[in-house]
Structure formats: structure tokens, C-alpha cells
């Protein structure tokens, strides 16, 4: 049933009928498996990957990666303060890392000022945040395994043996 995930991860619009066809399973079995994946949270949701360079969303025009050093809390470690931070809608992604800092955030905002304001007013002022380093993102090349440009045309000759 893992193959179903491989297929859906490539193209979320593949129908259960089509999946059944290529995996030699019954349509009902495929539907049931997908339902279970959804219920168990293996499949969280179905999204479309948009090349944001081409459709600018004014409210999210600027993106920054922010390194955050935090003081862990007794009994909660990093989780509680991390939640305090990732619940801000400006935070698009949040990771706890090993190394010289603790959290890596991806933050989006209307402009540099908006992101700066978020950092200086919301993030840095939290009690357990010891310091931040903000990197503004200049260009995206690849995200989550997808290269952000249109696939090149088939370069093969139209007929060969």
C-alpha cells in the first residue's frame, strides 16, 4: 500500500481508479487504503505547488530564514516555546535543529519592514528567546524536492528503435 503514497506524492490528482489500474489492486481496496492514510494522518492534505515567483502574493512577498536561540523550559524542553512561536501565521515552517542555534523559522511578510517588525516586536521579545539572526531570501531554486521551473521539453527524437 506504500506504493499508493508514492503515486499520490507525484500527482495528488491520480484517481483511485487509475491507481488500482497501475498497481493491480481493487478500486475499493485503494479507496479504503487512502481513507485510512487520511484518517491516520499519513496523508495530511492535498496541495498544489505554485511557482510563487510568477504569482506574487503581496501579503507574502518577502521571505526570511530566521535562526532563533532559545532557552529550553523545565518539563517541556523546546516544545512549548516552539509552539508559542510557530503559531504565529507569519511562520511558514519551523524546525528544531542541532548546532549553534535551536530553531530555524521560515517567515513571510509583506515587505522587509513587516518581517523586521515581526522579529523585533514579537519574536525577540519572548522571554525564552535569547537571540535571532535573520536572513532574507533572495531566490528560490528548489523546494521540497521540486525544482521551481517548468520541466524542460522532451529532448528525445520522436522516433527511434
Amino acid at each position: 500500500m506504500k506504493e499508493i503514497l508514492e503515486i499520490l506524492e507525484k500527482d495528488a490528482r491520480t484517481t483511485p481508479q487509475e491507481i488500482a489500474k497501475v498497481t493491480k489492486k481493487k478500486v475499493d481496496a485503494v479507496k479504503k487504503a487512502i481513507k485510512k492514510f487520511e484518517k491516520d494522518g499519513v496523508i495530511l492534505k492535498y496541495k498544489t505547488i505554485i511557482n510563487k515567483e510568477m504569482v506574487r502574493d503581496e501579503s507574502r512577498a518577502v521571505r526570511a530564514l530566521i535562526e532563533v536561540r532559545i532557552v529550553p523550559q523545565r518539563g517541556h524542553g523546546f516544545d512549548q516555546i516552539a509552539e508559542r512561536i510557530y503559531r504565529f501565521p507569519e511562520v511558514v515552517s519551523s524546525y528544531l535543529l542541532s548546532g549553534t542555534y535551536d530553531l530555524l523559522l521560515v517567515v513571510e511578510g509583506r515587505d522587509i519592514q513587516a518581517v523586521s517588525r515581526f522579529v523585533s516586536e514579537k519574536l525577540s521579545t519572548l522571554d525564552n528567546v535569547r537571540g535571532t539572526v535573520t536572513h532574507f531570501l533572495l531566490k528560490k531554486y528548489k523546494e521540497d524536492g521540486d525544482i521551481l521551473k517548468r520541466a524542460e521539453r522532451d529532448k528525445r527524437i520522436a522516433i527511434s528503435f
Partner: protein, 391 residues
């Protein structure tokens, strides 16, 4: 009279006109391509680029880079348990195509006969002919395009020196189980035949594991095992293949190779080393994708009423189009002009390919789906088929 008699007498490709038609047409979905739609895995491309940066731009040893021969030797040993000495039993060639040419020139005397199944890959007969050999075609239409012991026995006549095997096969996708190969091998041994085994599609075997015939008892000393990187690693344009076999034949092949090709392109050889050393994760992913496409296209063709046995390997289906009432060239031409889908008429692969077309499923799933919609529409419009099909 500038052109040699030999070339003049070379069998022409009967469907050149059809090819010109395909190449001249825009926005065609082509199921006529005999190579993977994947690009070469990046680790291999990157090693090729790095080799150029380092200045590896010269000839290599005629036999090929020792490191590559060593890796090939280890690869075959690990995978199939067959030992080939990288010093004198492996030759790196410019694709399997060159290896085929070399092996025929190395072993054939004028008039020596070679058994080849019909239909088969397009170059087998011409290279035999160019090497002075005579092709004895074995009609495999009645046996599901497979050589069988009884077919073989019938075709064996005086002067047959070699037999050419190709499995999984282009254009039919047919392959052989170990048991079937064992039966065939007994006849090869009994009649002291040289076996040339083109196993370029071996990695793309979907339902059972591939057995190289050279691994069977009594076969290694009479088999020239041909393989390469084009299909499994999506490296068609790199032109790297290899021949493994008995020392005398490999040495004879090397003799010709050193005067004609010198060596396979060095960047390609370096890329091939990376292919064998690097992760095979991507390879398995490609294989799973091909397998899904195979299931899809076989079932869709079946729904449309085209008889299409499920191929064991490679990335071709070879459905019968007999019940459309069209011959294979007519079918291919009409499908191309009406629906802009290109397939290869079966007759390109020999006279027994008539009534069939070759469709490659080395195309993206969306293209494959669209091609099937078009083929179905085409059948509805031109034949009594596909009327009840639903999708």
C-alpha cells in the same frame, strides 16, 4: 558506382517514409521512442561534468578504463554470481550496438549462419549481413514471440554457427525464465553454438528476476554477454556498453575495436563508473514507474479491444492490431495523421511483425493517458472496436 555493392545490397528500412512523416509533424505524442524518458540521474551527470573539469578528455585503454571494467566485473559477480576477469574477458564498447557489430565481425566467416528470431531489434540482421553472415530468421509468431526448443531444432541447419538472444526483447517485451533458458541452453551446447546474448533491458524485468544465460552450466564459455548503461541508467546518449565473454572472442573483438572505435568516450566511461558505484535508489524508482505504466497501458489497450499480452520486461508493448482491419503501416500512419500519436509499425522489426505495432511506455503518465484517449477515439472512429470501452 561510388557506393559499394555490399551497402547497396543492404536491406533498406521499409518504413523510412513513415519516419519522415513523424519527424515533420508538430505536437505529436510519441510512443515511438526507444529510450527512457527519464534523464540520466544527476550523480552520473555530475561525475561526467567533473571529469571534463579535471581534464579527462583523452583516449582510454582500448579495452576501456580499467576501473570501469573492474566495476562491471564486480557488478556482474555480485548480482548474478558470474565471474569475468576485467583483464581479458570484458570489453567496454560504444554502446551495445558497437559490441554487436564487433562480435559478428569477430566470429563470422562468409556464409556462416546466425539464428535470429523474427520479429527482432532492427540492427541484428543488417550487422550480420555486413559481417558477411547469413541470417536464419526463426518465426516466433506462433510461440508468443519466444524461441522454444522445438522451434530451435527445426531451424538448425548446416552452417549455423551462432544464435542471437535478446531478452527482455525489443520490440515485444518478451523474456525467458531460468527454466526456459535451461532448456534452450541444452540445445546450444549440443550443437556447439556461440550465443550472443543482448540483455540490455535486464534491469527492467518486472515479474521475475532476470537470469543471464551465461550463468547457466556449460554456457559461459560459449556466450558473449552484452549489456550497457543506456536503458537501466537512462544513459542512451553517453554511448557506453560492454561485452563479456570467453577470452578468445573478447580479444578478437578488441582487435577490431582498437582500429575502428579506439575507445568509448571517456566522459561516458567515467559516468558509467559512477552509475555502478552510486546509489541504485533512483533506478528502482524508475523501474517501479515503468511497471505501473505497463499495467496501465496493457489494461487500457485491452479495454479498447486490442490484443496485448503483458510484456515481461523492457518498456514496450507489441499489441496485435489485426482486428482493426488495417495493416501495421496503415494503422501507424492514420493514427499519426488523425490523432497525432506516433507508434512504430511492427514490420520495422521484421516480416513477422506484421499485424502489430510497437508502443513504448517510456513516456510520462499524463502523456500515456492522453495517448490512450486518442487511440481509443481513433479506434471508435475507424473500426468497430472500443465502442463499449469506458473511461
Amino acid at each position: 558506382m561510388r557506393i559499394s555493392k555490399k551497402v547497396k545490397n543492404m536491406p533498406p528500412s521499409g518504413i523510412r517514409e513513415f519516419f519522415e512523416l513523424v519527424i515533420g509533424m508538430k505536437d505529436v505524442i510519441s510512443l515511438g521512442v526507444g529510450e527512457p524518458d527519464f534523464v540520466t540521474p544527476w550523480n552520473i551527470c555530475e561525475s561526467g561534468i567533473f571529469s571534463i573539469e579535471k581534464g579527462c578528455t583523452s583516449y582510454t585503454s582500448n579495452k576501456g578504463l580499467y576501473e570501469l571494467r573492474l566495476q562491471v566485473s564486480k557488478f556482474i559477480k555480485n548480482k548474478h554470481g558470474i565471474g569475468y576477469d576485467p583483464e581479458n574477458q570484458i570489453l567496454i564498447t560504444t554502446g551495445v550496438s558497437e559490441a554487436l557489430d564487433l562480435v559478428f565481425r569477430a566470429i563470422l566467416n562468409p556464409g556462416d549462419k546466425v539464428l535470429i528470431s523474427d520479429p527482432c531489434y532492427v540492427s541484428y540482421h543488417p550487422v550480420t549481413f555486413m559481417a558477411g553472415g547469413k541470417t536464419v530468421f526463426v518465426n516466433t509468431k506462433g510461440t508468443g514471440f519466444k524461441l522454444t526448443p522445438s522451434l530451435l531444432k527445426k531451424s538448425l541447419s548446416k552452417g549455423v554457427k551462432a544464435v542471437l538472444l535478446n531478452y527482455p526483447a525489443n520490440p515485444t517485451g518478451v523474456s525467458y525464465s531460468k527454466k526456459e533458458l535451461l532448456e534452450l541452453s541444452r540445445i546450444f551446447i549440443k550443437h556447439d553454438l556461440v550465443v550472443i546474448s543482448d540483455e540490455i533491458y535486464d534491469e527492467l524485468t518486472y515479474d521475475f528476476s532476470h537470469t543471464p544465460i551465461s550463468g547457466l552450466k556449460g554456457m559461459k564459455e560459449r556466450t558473449v554477454y552484452l549489456n550497457g548503461f543506456s536503458k537501466a541508467f537512462a544513459m542512451t546518449g553517453w554511448r557506453v556498453g560492454y561485452a563479456c565473454g570467453p577470452e578468445d572472442i573478447i580479444s578478437a573483438m578488441t582487435k577490431i575495436h582498437q582500429y575502428t572505435m579506439l575507445c568509448s568516450p571517456v566522459m561516458g566511461q567515467i559516468g558509467a563508473i559512477e552509475a555502478l558505484r552510486g546509489s541504485r535508489h533512483y533506478l528502482l524508482e524508475m523501474k517501479r514507474e515503468y511497471k505501473r505504466r505497463r499495467e496501465y497501458i496493457v489494461e487500457r489497450l485491452d479495454e479498447m479491444g486490442l490484443v496485448c499480452p503483458k510484456p515481461d520486461g523492457a518498456f514496450y508493448v507489441f499489441p496485435s492490431i489485426k482486428n482493426t482491419g488495417m495493416n501495421s503501416i496503415e494503422f501507424a500512419k492514420k493514427l499519426l495523421t488523425q490523432e497525432k500519436v506516433a507508434v512504430v509499425p511492427g514490420t520495422a522489426f521484421g516480416s513477422q511483425g506484421k499485424g502489430h505495432v510497437r508502443m513504448a511506455y517510456a513516456s510520462s503518465m499524463p502523456d500515456l493517458k492522453e495517448a490512450c484517449v486518442r487511440i481509443e477515439r481513433f479506434l471508435k472512429k475507424n473500426t468497430n472496436l472500443a465502442v463499449t470501452a469506458t473511461e
